[in-house]
């Protein structure tokens, strides 16, 4: 087993492509992604106002709207058609229309009417316009209400003091919410890519050397699988610390987890991923086809993990598909620990499942090695002995030459 491990180390270190996946990817991707979302929130969404009231009250509400952090009034235009043109030219992303009777209604003790038309291409803009508008009007509304009941209740403040306490991700930022899900998945995908590429390289060597891999160490099935996993685990010690501990630190994401607990959590995760990689490698026959097979699955896994669409809303079928993936459990446990400060004990269920996956993928990886890969190599050898030029002719045939 240690021979396999040592040999695998040699292969990894000699292979630039794999090193890029194992190390560079783990250092570059988290930083790049975090930088993209580092502004965290949208501010000052551009809106134009159509003020049909032109009263003192309407000008006041426009000033209030402009003063909210969420939106910024870029202009007041005389008509809706002009405002629509502004929106079509993307000079603004929402129109706020103030009713003609706005000023008079307020004075007469009636409801005042304001309408907003939002561009729906990016949801965050709509959310900002909505909360900017609500924020501006509600301030005023609360004052009116409190003033009305004050003489009866002998109370000049609000009636109920409602406190909104954001927990977990208390800055309510987008990066802090999404990136914590993505970080463990970066580790998973980079390891899968690396394992796939190593395997693709081995297959190619077999193709060129009559079915034999000159760089392979002869060992039993279990020793081969475990030896390789040990090698990957050792290599990933450093990237794991960087991705799961240093990155949140660099970008001020929530960091409520005990670093040692995170490491304890990532052990079954990394082991599970390395075994999963050795199971799905069976689909890869070329170094570069790794890209095609693995890369797009990142998007699928991000969605399955519940980063943007919560897991309780996912149908049972897709939830079951996600349950198979170590990264899904890891990222959910990691978010609970980093954001909500859960202890290892509180995510015990996740840890148990991760260890369970290790066991299942270990059996699968061994089966793949024994019943699929090794017979396939034997077939290569037999074919190559029969007809040494076959591999090259196959290549020509596939290319249509």
């Amino acid at each position: 087993m240690f021979k396999v491990m040592r040999n695998e180390f040699r292969l990894v270190l000699a292979d630039q492509g794999v090193l890029v996946f194992f190390l560079l990817l783990c250092f570059v991707y988290p930083i790049l992604y975090s930088l993209i979302y580092n502004t965290e929130v949208a501010r000052d969404v551009r809106v134009v106002i159509v003020d049909d009231s032109r009263s003192h009250a309407s000008r006041k509400i426009v000033r209030h709207i402009d003063a909210t952090p969420e939106v910024s009034v870029v202009g007041v235009v005389p008509s809706m058609s002009e405002a629509r043109d502004c929106m079509a030219r993307k000079e603004c992303y929402a129109i706020i229309h103030i009713d003609r009777d706005y000023g008079r209604d307020g004075e007469n003790g009636l409801q005042r009417h304001i309408s907003a038309y939002c561009d729906m291409s990016v949801m965050v803009r709509y959310k900002n316009v909505l909360s900017g508008l609500v924020g501006a009007t509600q301030d005023d509304a609360q004052r009116t209400q409190a003033a009305a009941v004050a003489p009866v209740l002998y109370n000049h403040g609000g009636i109920v003091n409602a406190q909104h306490v954001p927990i977990g991700n208390s800055g309510m930022g987008m990066a802090s919410a999404i990136l914590l899900f993505v970080l463990p998945l970066v580790l998973q995908q980079s390891m899968l890519l690396g394992i796939g590429m190593l395997h693709g390289g081995s297959i190619e060597r077999r193709r060129h050397c009559a079915g034999h891999d000159p760089l392979e160490v002869k060992a039993g099935v279990v020793a081969t699988v475990l030896g390789k996993s040990m090698c990957y685990l050792t290599i990933y010690a450093l990237p794991t610390v960087f991705v799961l501990h240093v990155t949140p630190h660099l970008f001020d994401f929530p960091q409520n987890a005990n670093p040692l607990a995170v490491l304890a959590l990532s052990l079954p995760f990394l082991l599970g991923v390395s075994l999963m990689g050795q199971t799905i490698k069976v689909f890869i026959n070329e170094r570069e086809s790794t890209f095609l097979m693995i890369v797009f699955s990142s998007i699928v896994f991000i969605f399955l993990s519940g980063a943007s669409w919560p897991r309780f809303e996912i149908s049972t079928f897709w939830k079951a598909v996600g349950d198979v993936v170590p990264g899904v459990w890891m990222s959910n446990a990691y978010v609970l620990m980093q954001s909500d400060g859960a202890s290892l004990w509180q995510v015990a269920r996740h840890v148990a499942i991760l260890w369970g996956q290790c066991a299942i993928f270990f059996v699968l990886a061994c089966m793949v090695e024994k019943y699929v890969s090794r017979p396939r190599y034997a077939r290569y050898q037999a074919l190559a002995q029969e007809d040494p030029g076959l591999a090259r002719r196959m290549e020509l045939h596939k290319n249509g030459d």
Binding site: D15, Y37, T39, V41, A42, R43, V45, A88, Q111, I114, S115, Y117, C118, D119, M120, S121, V122, M123, L133, V134, A141, Q145, A148, V149, Y154, N155, G158, I159, V160, N161, A162, Q163, H164, V165, P166, I167, S176, I178, E288, F291, L292, V295, F296, I299, F303, W309, P310, F312, E313, I314, S315, W318, L336, S339, G341, A342, V347, K398, N399, G400
Partner: protein
């Protein structure tokens, strides 16, 4: 002429003989598109699991719990008797937030002593967080409103006069194109074409790289009469056709099967699809001209393909990003297809406003022309670097 036909024939035969092409051009894009659309088919986040911590156990507090329970967006799955229990449930991931009614709430409310209500929202989960906030906020406002209403009635005001006092502002927010706030329409209108773009970029890079790697690029050029344009044309056109057909199928899924908003003539979107395919192919060939090596070229294409999901500003709008991030977003074909989709399919604007985006997609197709000599050079004398 026979060079053109010969190249095309070679390109088409390859598609059939390498299972990787069929898998990555037809099966996976369709499967992934279906996955994304089916995953989000409910359209909005509903029934977020939340907890109620009612320390008051009074008539008012129970009414508030019932009110909260009647909201579609949240579901009270647990009741706890202390803050610590609720916090533990959040940390275990059982609930995503809780509503806390303190002791003597009713008494203080009716006594006018401004009792404190608190709601704890876990924003580690972004979409459920805002749904909880909305429901919790409404319930807490309603409590205050009911007190005001009772007081005003006691004073002798009529209900018509009380309403403006409770809600002095009637705000009407219109959401043209997506009035149901459907998350599926919003997210997948951009994500699915971008995922298709990723496949196009990777497959194009794979197709060119395979030629260089196997050393068969010499024959590839030879059969095209040593003309790199003919060679590329022959190799990529069959893929263009296949990808376009797959793209149309995906559009059919979007607009017909899943009823995404389509407020323009269907032809506008149907015609934009081949432009998207060719723009991405042009982009991939350009990347390959920069780095005419299988692994480097593929890495570049994959990198851009993956990053376009974030750089193009589908979730965080471009104007809120760092300017350099937004600028990189403008270097990607998916961005312009996204702008066409929102302008045309979502907002139904006149074609005039989107003219630039169509032009840019065509420009992407022509982008590699000045760099093709590099690819030709490499193809005539391929060196494989593993």
């Amino acid at each position: 002429m026979h060079y053109v036909i010969d190249s095309l024939w070679r390109g088409a035969v390859q598609l059939v003989r390498r299972p990787m092409y069929v898998l990555m051009i037809v099966i996976m894009p369709v499967l992934c598109a279906w996955f994304l659309m089916d995953l989000l088919k409910t359209g909005s986040v509903q029934r977020v699991p939340v907890a109620m911590v009612d320390l008051d156990r009074s008539g008012v507090s129970r009414r508030m719990a019932r009110n909260l329970g009647s909201f579609q967006q949240v579901e009270i799955t647990n009741h706890y008797t202390s803050f610590a229990q609720a916090k533990d449930a959040v940390q275990r991931g059982r609930v995503m937030g809780f509503f806390l009614i303190p002791e003597d709430f009713e008494e203080n409310l009716l006594g006018g002593r401004q009792p404190v209500l608190s709601y704890y929202v876990n924003y580690a989960y972004f979409a459920p967080g805002s749904m909880q906030y909305k429901s919790f906020k409404t319930v807490s406002v309603m409590v205050g409103g009911s007190v005001v209403q009772t007081v005003m009635r006691t004073v002798g005001l009529r209900d018509e006069a009380i309403k403006p006092l409770l809600l002095p502002y009637a705000t009407h927010v219109h959401m043209p194109g997506n009035p149901y706030l459907n998350y599926n329409y919003y997210l997948n209108a951009s994500f699915v074409p971008t995922l298709l773009s990723l496949f196009i970029l990777m497959v194009t890079a794979f197709a060119l790289g395979t030629e260089l790697k196997t050393g068969l690029s010499v024959r590839w050029l030879h059969r095209a009469g040593d003309n790199i344009v003919v060679a590329l044309w022959g190799k990529l056109l069959p893929q263009t056709v296949l990808f376009t057909v797959v793209g149309w199928f995906i559009q059919w899924m979007m607009y017909v099967k899943f009823h995404f908003p389509l407020n323009c003539s269907p032809w506008t979107m149907i015609l934009a699809m081949p432009l998207l395919v060719m723009a991405n192919q042009g982009f991939a060939v350009t990347m390959f001209c920069f780095a005419p090596n299988f692994r480097f070229g593929t890495t570049l294409c994959t990198l851009f393909g993956m990053l376009s999901f974030s750089f193009c500003g589908f979730s965080l709008p471009a104007e809120s990003m760092y300017p350099w991030v937004a600028a990189i977003g403008h270097m990607m074909p998916s961005k312009y297809f996204f702008l066409i989709t929102t302008d045309q399919a979502l907002n139904g604007l006149p074609l005039y406003y989107s003219r630039v985006y169509y032009a840019v997609l065509i420009a992407f197709t022509l982008l590699p022309l000045p760099l093709l000599w590099r690819l030709k050079h490499e193809a005539a004398d391929p060196v494989y670097i593993p």
